[in-house]
Symmetry: C2
Subunit: 300 residues, 2 copies
């Protein structure tokens, strides 16, 4: 298994200015693994309850995603989230969060996952993320995601984790919070100095920035009129990026730039419909075609 | 005179979280013309009062900017603006505006300016912008800037102007207002359908987007840690862009992309110090050097 993701598996209820969906397939590990599956073999580690529709597992398996790490808790209920997007489709309000079985998530990597060289620790408690790290043998590249909640309530644990990962992915506002700096370029580098070799700031509709010791670059989002549901955009970005990286042999700045371009394009499809609905209709060739369009857009 | 700009000439008082300047040289026509002067010959049309320090005119002339169109109103006072930047350096509050002589600005183009092929109508009343258009003979490319004030109080006049210009430049929030659409890509194209052949949306620290009938593209801002004073960023972007265009013979999408790249890079220098202080220390070779860096950043 080249790539493993550990994160949430959820049933999402989503309201946008023009539509509404209840209990659709979601969660960071789901969006990540589905996006990554266009590039490489991927194993998913997560937890669900008895209410979990088996068809969701089948859908993941239809993309050759290894679900051996998906625990089903008897009598438990799956993590459920309800959110409402503002008219700008960039800001959202969380209306309900029921952590359910995710509250006591104790990730256990199947033996076959422990040799994975590429590991993505999707957004979650840094304590749980650390537990995963202790189970993988000799990872080549570990990237973690985090959020404001952990920066606020588990700052020490997060700082500890940052010394153990290769890369950190977080939103621009979270980077400002963690670095205590309003300038994104300075904030990115300050976070990098906390431990990771590279930091990627996600700016939603404005794209993403990359920071390593000798590199600072920014890539815009792929411009699209069709933004139906932004849920999972960040995780599908990460999935496309890590999926691409897992198939590479060297990790130069150019490699990361291509990886971010693939992540950008994959995420641009993800937002075009609810849940995985757009990605379900996607071919790898669609991704490559839009990547070429994106490259032409940035060439002058 | 290849390029003419008509706009404000001002004395700015600026507060940032770390510094403060009173009565420094500013205004849209000033930032625009200084930026454009690295690329082409430029004539400035504006108005000032008796309080205008002659050294400011000398500074503009030292860059071969033709100030024959700068009216000095006896007994009048120069347009004065005071603003304060938020810690994010992207949002600002206007503390004071004294239009003074700019309130009755009646632009008169010197004879030598009327043959100019490239015209930039910096932000101002669409009625005044139209008066300028009536004075130019056979312009090749006319680009206007506008703002929420005119969208709100002179909407009809603005709509009339849009049918007469080749390009419109405006902020993302203003495009959303004018198009009544929260999606930037749709908003950009809707504004374009109001008349101009192309529309450029300025997104501040997030870059700029371009819309023509067959093209939609986005270019990120040049990432910099050194944001001392963002005042004039949009106008120096426009100046670099129009200055470059004024030296071209054909106007393909590629030409506009290069022009926007030059605008982006010129603006990235403008924000590195107050007023024109950074541009005063700038050489054309600095711009080309950063342009190459910017191009490398976007190549994968």
């Amino acid at each position: 298994m080249p790539l493993v993701v550990v994160g949430s598996v959820a049933l999402d209820s989503i309201e946008t200015p023009s539509a509404k969906r209840d209990n659709v397939l979601g969660g960071s590990a789901v969006h990540f693994s589905y996006a990554a599956s266009f590039f490489t073999g991927v194993g998913l580690v997560g937890v669900v309850g008895e209410d979990w529709p088996e068809e969701h597992t089948s859908l993941l398996q239809s993309r050759q995603i290894d679900t051996a790490g998906l625990q089903v808790i008897p009598g438990g209920k799956t993590f459920a989230w309800r959110g409402k997007y503002q008219p700008n489709m960039n800001d959202r309000d969380t209306l309900e969060v029921h952590l359910n079985v995710f509250e006591d998530f104790d990730p256990v990597l199947p033996e076959s996952f422990k040799q994975s060289e590429f590991v993505f620790l999707a957004n979650g408690s840094p304590v749980v993320q650390m537990k995963v790290l202790e189970q993988v043998k000799r990872p080549k590249l570990v990237v973690a995601d985090t959020m404001d909640l952990w920066i606020n309530i588990q700052n020490d644990e997060l700082r500890g984790l940052l010394k153990r990962v290769d890369g950190l992915l977080l939103n621009d506002s979270e980077a400002k919070l963690l670095a205590d700096d309003e300038n994104l370029v300075r904030a990115g580098h300050k976070v990098r100095e906390m431990g990771p070799k590279f930091v990627i700031l996600k700016k939603g509709e404005h794209g993403a920035m990359f920071f390593s010791e000798h590199e600072t670059f920014v890539m815009p989002a792929f411009p699209t009129e069709t933004v139906v549901d932004p849920t999972g955009a960040g995780d599908s970005f990460a999935g496309g990026m890590m999926g691409y990286l897992a198939e590479q042999t060297e990790f130069s700045a150019q490699t990361f730039k291509s990886a971010m371009a693939y992540g950008t394009v994959t995420a641009s499809y993800n937002v075009e419909d609810f849940s995985l609905d757009r990605l379900k209709r996607l071919q790898r060739s669609d991704i490559d075609q839009r990547l070429n369009q994106y490259r032409r857009m940035l060439t002058f």
